[in-house]
Symmetry: C2
Subunit: 191 residues, 2 copies
DNA sequence: GATTTACATCAACAATTGTTGATGTAAAAT
DNA sequence: ATTTTACATCAACAATTGTTGATGTAAATC
C-alpha cells in the first residue's frame, strides 16, 4: 500500500463513519478503531477532526460549482439546464455519496468563519437555480408558479439522491434514477 | 403561566435547539440556559436527554400512521391517495416542523431497542406508500416505472417540507406549497 | 392549616471528548 | 549511509458531557 492509498483509506473510513453516525457522534477513537490503530495516530492523517469535515465540504462544493458554471455558459434552454443539473447531482452523488450527504446534513458543524463561507457558496448555487426558473417561467418554458418555491422543491427532490448510492449501486440503477428524475421534473415544472 | 404551559415551553425550547444544532450538539446546559434556569432543573421536565427525542419521534410517528391508516381505508384511487398523503405531510410539517425534521435527521441517535422499534414503524409506513405505487402502476393510473424508485422519490420530495415552516409561514404559503407539490406529483408520476 | 406537588440552586460524580508531547521504528529520499 | 518522512504507541491534559443527591422554597391540593 502506497502513501496515497493509506491516506485515501483513512478518508474513506472517516467519511463512512461520519455518514453512518453523524459528525458529532463520530469520535476520533471511533475512526482509530476502524483503522486498527491508536487514537493519536489519526493525527498523522489529519490536522484536526473539523478539518476532515471542512475539506470534504469545500472540495465537494467546488465540484458542484464547477459543474453548474460550465452548463450556465452553454446556450441551453431552461429545461435543458435543469436536466443537466440533475445529471450533475446524480453523477456527484454516485461518485461520492458520503460527501454529497455532508453538504446537506453536516455543514452546520463547521466553526463560525468556515460556516459563513460555506453558506455563501451555497447561497450562490441556489441563486443560479433560482435564475433558471425565473427565466424559464417568464419565457413560458415552465408552468406559472412562484420561482422561489419551484427552485426549492427542485433542489429538494435531487438532494436525497446520495441515499441510493451509499451501499453501492449498479450503473443500471443509476441510469434508471436519472431518467425517472428527469421525467418528474419535466412533468412537474414544464408547460 | 400554568403547569401545562411551562412544560409546553420547555418542550418548545428543547425542540428548537435540537433542530438548530442537532441532537448530539445540543447539551442539557444549552437548554437550561435558554430556559433561564439551572441544568439540574431540566430534570424536573424530562427524565433524560434521550427521552426528549424519543417522545417526539414516537408521538409524531404515531400521527403519521393514524393519518395514512385513515386514508388507506377510504375508497380512493391511487392518485387521490397520493394527494391525501401530500396533504398529510404538509399539515404535520406545518403544525410541528421541528418534530417532522427529527423523523428525518435525528432518529439515528435513539438507543438500540428504541431504534429498532422506530425503524420498524418507518418501514411499515414506507410499505404503504410502495403498495400505492404498485397498485397504481398495475392499474395504469401511473406511468410505467419501478415502484420502488417511485415510492422513494415520492417520499423524498415531500420529506423536506418542514424546512419551509420552521421560521413561521403564512397559511397562504402553505396552500401554495401544497398545490405545487400536488402538481409535481401528478405531472411526474401519473399517466 | 397541612401536605403534596412543582420548581429552583449548588456542588459534585464518572465518563467521554479532542488534542498534545515524548518516544520509538520502518521506509523513502538524499 | 544518513537524513528525512511516515507511521505507530503510550500516557496524560483540560474541557465538556449527562446525571444525581442534598437542600430549599413557592404554589397547588387536600
Amino acid at each position: 500500500m502506497s502513501v496515497a492509498d493509506r491516506r485515501a483509506n483513512f478518508t474513506k473510513i472517516a467519511h463512512r463513519l461520519i455518514y453512518e453516525k453523524g459528525y458529532k457522534a463520530t469520535t476520533m477513537r471511533d475512526i482509530a478503531q476502524n483503522m486498527g490503530c491508536d487514537v493519536a495516530n489519526i493525527y498523522n492523517y489529519t490536522k484536526s477532526k473539523e478539518s476532515i469535515l471542512e475539506q470534504s465540504l469545500f472540495d465537494t462544493s467546488a465540484i458542484f460549482h464547477e459543474g453548474i458554471k460550465k452548463l450556465m455558459r452553454n446556450e441551453l434552454t431552461p429545461k435543458e439546464k435543469l436536466i443537466e443539473i440533475i445529471k450533475l447531482h446524480v453523477t456527484i452523488s454516485y461518485e461520492r455519496p458520503y460527501q454529497a450527504a455532508f453538504l446537506i446534513d453536516e455543514w452546520r458543524h463547521l466553526s463560525n468563519e468556515k460556516l459563513n463561507l460555506f453558506l455563501k457558496e451555497r447561497h450562490q448555487y441556489e441563486s443560479w437555480i433560482f435564475d433558471i426558473f425565473n427565466t424559464g417561467i417568464m419565457s413560458n418554458d415552465f408552468r406559472i408558479i412562484d420561482p422561489k418555491i419551484a427552485s426549492i422543491t427542485f433542489l429538494s427532490s435531487i438532494r436525497w439522491v446520495h441515499n441510493q448510492f451509499v451501499n453501492g449501486s449498479s450503473p443500471k440503477q443509476r441510469i434508471e434514477l436519472e431518467v425517472h428524475l428527469t421525467n418528474c421534473i419535466i412533468g412537474g415544472y414544464c408547460s
